[in-house]
C-alpha cells in the first residue's frame, strides 16, 4: 500500500486536516484558543523570542520545547528588543525578573481567557502564585511603555486532569 501520504509532510498535514474536520466539531480547546487569540489583536506588544530554556539543556533539545513539563525547577528567558524577561519556575510559584529593572504590570493570560495580573516592583521583580495551569502566555508592560508578549507556555497540566 502506498505510504506517501504518511512520509510527506504536506500530505500528512492535509490528511490530518481532513481527519480533524471529519470529526464534525472543533474541539472546545481550539475555540477557546481562538477567542483568546482575538483578544490579543489590539495589543501592541513585541513578540518575545524564547532565548533560553533549561529544558533545552537536555539531549532532546528540539523536542523538549514541544512537550509539557511537570512542575519542576525550570528557567526560561524571553527577549524582545531591549527587554528581557527571566522566569524561574518553583514548585509553588513563578518568579520573574524584568531586565532592565523597572516597575510595570504583568498579565498571565490563559487559553480559556482568564487574566491574572501581577505587579512588577521597582527592581523589576514579580511573583505569580500559584504556577498557572494549562497553556498561558505572559504579557509584560513596563511603566516606560516597553512591552513584551511571550509565546504559549505550559508548565502544569490543565485543571481537571
Amino acid at each position: 500500500m502506498s505510504q506517501q501520504w504518511w512520509k510527506d509532510d504536506d500530505q500528512l498535514l492535509a490528511a490530518l486536516g481532513e481527519a480533524l474536520r471529519s470529526e464534525g466539531s472543533m474541539p472546545a480547546e481550539f475555540i477557546a484558543i481562538g477567542k483568546a487569540a482575538f483578544s490579543w489583536r489590539d495589543i501592541d506588544a513585541e513578540l518575545a523570542s524564547l532565548t533560553y530554556d533549561s529544558v533545552f539543556e537536555g539531549a532532546e533539545a528540539e523536542l523538549a520545547g514541544a512537550r509539557s513539563e511537570p512542575a519542576s525547577l525550570r528557567y526560561l528567558t524571553f527577549t524582545a528588543g531591549e527587554l528581557t524577561l527571566e522566569i524561574e519556575v518553583t514548585v509553588d510559584a513563578v518568579l520573574g525578573q524584568l531586565v532592565p529593572p523597572g516597575t510595570g504590570r504583568l498579565e498571565v493570560r490563559t487559553a480559556d481567557g482568564t487574566v491574572v495580573t501581577a505587579v512588577i516592583d521597582q527592581g523589576g521583580g514579580f511573583t505569580i502564585r500559584p504556577v498557572p495551569r494549562g497553556s498561558f502566555r505572559l504579557y509584560c508592560h513596563a511603566t516606560n511603555d516597553a512591552s513584551l508578549l511571550t509565546n504559549w507556555l505550559m508548565l502544569q497540566d490543565p485543571p481537571g486532569d
Binding site: 502506498s2 504518511w6 492535509a14 481527519a19 487569540a37
Partner: protein, 109 residues
C-alpha cells in the same frame, strides 16, 4: 528567505487542499468500500495521535490545517512564534505525530 519558506508551506497546503482526494488517497487501486474504510481508520488514528501531542503542536497544527488557510503572519502573531520558526516547528510536530502508535500501526499493518 524566511518568508519564502513560509509561503512555500502554505502553497503546498493550498495544492493538497485543492486536490485533497488524489493527494492523500492511500491507494488508487483500492475498491471504494475499502478506500472508505481506510480513510475512516486513518482519520481515527490521526485524531488519536493528534490528541497525544503537546498543546503547542495542537495550536500550530490546528491553525495550519484550518480551512480557509490562515496567513503565516497571523499564525505567527496568534501563537507568538516567529515566522521563521513555523516550518521547523511544523516539521517537529508532524514527526511527533509519526511516532504515535495508532497511525504507525496502520502503516506497518
Amino acid at each position: 528567505m524566511t518568508h519564502n519558506e513560509c509561503s512555500r508551506v502554505l502553497r503546498a497546503r493550498k495544492r493538497s487542499a485543492s486536490s485533497s482526494g488524489p493527494q492523500t488517497a492511500p491507494d488508487d487501486r483500492l475498491a471504494p468500500a475499502e478506500h472508505w474504510l481506510f480513510i475512516a481508520e486513518r482519520d481515527a488514528a490521526l485524531r488519536e495521535a493528534f490528541a497525544t501531542l503537546s498543546p503547542q503542536c495542537h495550536h500550530l497544527l490546528a491553525m495550519l490545517t484550518a480551512d480557509p488557510l490562515v496567513p503565516c503572519a497571523e499564525v505567527s502573531a496568534t501563537l507568538g512564534i516567529a515566522v521563521a520558526d513555523i516550518a521547523p516547528l511544523r516539521r517537529g510536530c508532524l514527526d511527533a505525530l509519526r511516532r504515535c502508535p495508532a497511525p504507525a500501526a496502520l502503516i506497518s499493518g
